[in-house]
């Protein structure tokens, strides 16, 4: 079992270019001020479920993340979930692809 993530709903609206500055969520009417990593992650998420490994590869290709980097990435995803910008669930598949 692994946790997978996605974003449903309308596209986020960025004050400047995607991944920078304030961001508006039309689904909730909330404005967020994301730090660099959550902002970058928010630009890679779409409505398909993906693990954090798959999300890293969307942005950076095939890379090996050390434990600290992986924890940081998951923490960023968790913060996006708390802000109701993404949702997560536990998946019963181990590999990438649709869940």
């Amino acid at each position: 079992m692994q946790r997978v993530w996605r974003r449903l709903g309308p596209a986020l609206i960025w004050d400047r270019e995607p991944g920078h500055g304030a961001v508006f969520d039309p689904a909730t009417g909330e404005t967020h001020f994301l730090s660099e990593l959550p902002a970058l992650i928010a630009t890679t998420l779409d409505d398909t479920w993906a693990s954090h490994i798959e999300l890293v590869s969307r942005y950076a290709g095939t890379v090996e993340l050390d434990a600290a980097a992986e924890a940081q990435f998951v923490a960023a995803l968790t913060s996006l979930e708390r802000a109701e910008l993404v949702e997560s669930r536990l998946s019963d598949t181990d590999q990438g692809g649709r869940h």
């Binding site: 609206i13 004050d15 508006f24 001020f33």
Partner: protein, 281 residues
């Protein structure tokens, strides 16, 4: 505006006699009535009631506080209905054609600073509402009496002994209040918008040295959105307008204690900008 209270009309006339129109019927935004509460209250501790379009949104106030009740009641009318505009909780003044926005909550010094800037030649747009048209992002004037509260009254009198102040109301719900009359220039130009140029977040701190510190766009955005009455209501429009504002303005936080130095520093800031034509020296 309707009332049978002669004292109230005397004060209203002191502040706004040049704004009364005698050229026929017009579309009215608000139909306001200040009337005395009836019955025993006519004789014992008389009270005045603020009515808007037949509604009574507030408790009666002591009759002698009719004028501040009217001013605060009118603020309520604007705050609850003018959502065609982005509405900032801010003092706003114009220097030449350029607007200075001073957002802040009660106690920040925005009204006192707005008053002092106007006494040194700035044009009053508003001491309470920064009203902006989202489609053009220009600042709209709404010059009215500036309510000075408690120690701010003495601060303005010390700043300018000839400041045109109305009556003192010693026992309002906000303490002691006295209003600064808007100057003739501000009233004459109340149809002339200003282009927002400076965003200054004032913080009054007794005894503090003046300190004007540039703010980065993210901080400025966050603080300006926080000081916007109808940010959530306007949604994406507010988001885009606030973003545009912080990009086009020079943004600062400003700590001050002495009015004379504060005004000097803000006027000097405005004078650095060659586009701010007509900055009073």
């Amino acid at each position: 505006m309707r009332s049978s209270d002669a004292a109230f009309f005397d004060t209203l006339s002191y502040f706004y006699r040049d704004c009364v129109r005698h050229d026929g019927p017009h579309f009215l935004d608000f139909d306001i009535r200040i009337r005395r509460v009836g019955g025993l209250r006519r004789l014992v501790r008389p009270q005045a009631l603020f009515e808007i379009d037949g509604l009574r949104p507030f408790e009666p106030q002591p009759a002698e506080n009719a004028f501040p009740s009217y001013e605060w009641g009118l603020n309520w009318c604007i705050a609850t209905s003018a959502h065609r505009y982005l509405m900032l909780h801010a003092g706003t003044v114009a220097l030449g054609g350029s607007g200075m926005i001073l957002p802040g909550h009660p106690g920040s010094g925005k009204s006192t600073l707005s008053a002092a800037l106007c006494l040194r030649g700035a044009r009053l747009l508003s001491d309470e509402f920064g009203l902006l048209r989202p489609e053009s992002v220009d600042l709209l004037p709404m010059p009215r009496g500036i309510p000075l509260k408690n120690a701010s009254i003495e601060a303005i009198q010390e700043f300018d002994g000839a400041a045109p102040l109305g009556p003192t109301y010693p026992k309002t719900r906000k303490g002691r209040v006295r209003h600064l009359r808007p100057d003739a220039q501000s009233l004459r130009q109340q149809q002339v918008p200003a282009v927002p140029r400076w965003l200054i977040f004032p913080k009054y701190r007794a005894g503090a040295a003046e300190s004007l510190r540039p703010l980065d766009e993210t901080d400025a955005f966050r603080q300006l959105a926080y000081n916007c009455f109808n940010y959530k209501l306007l949604g994406e429009t507010a988001f885009r307008t606030v973003g545009q504002l912080v990009r086009q303005m020079d943004c600062y936080s400003f700590t001050f204690s002495r009015l004379d130095r504060a005004v000097e520093q803000l006027m000097a800031l405005a004078a650095q900008n060659p586009a701010a034509a007509g900055v009073p020296q």
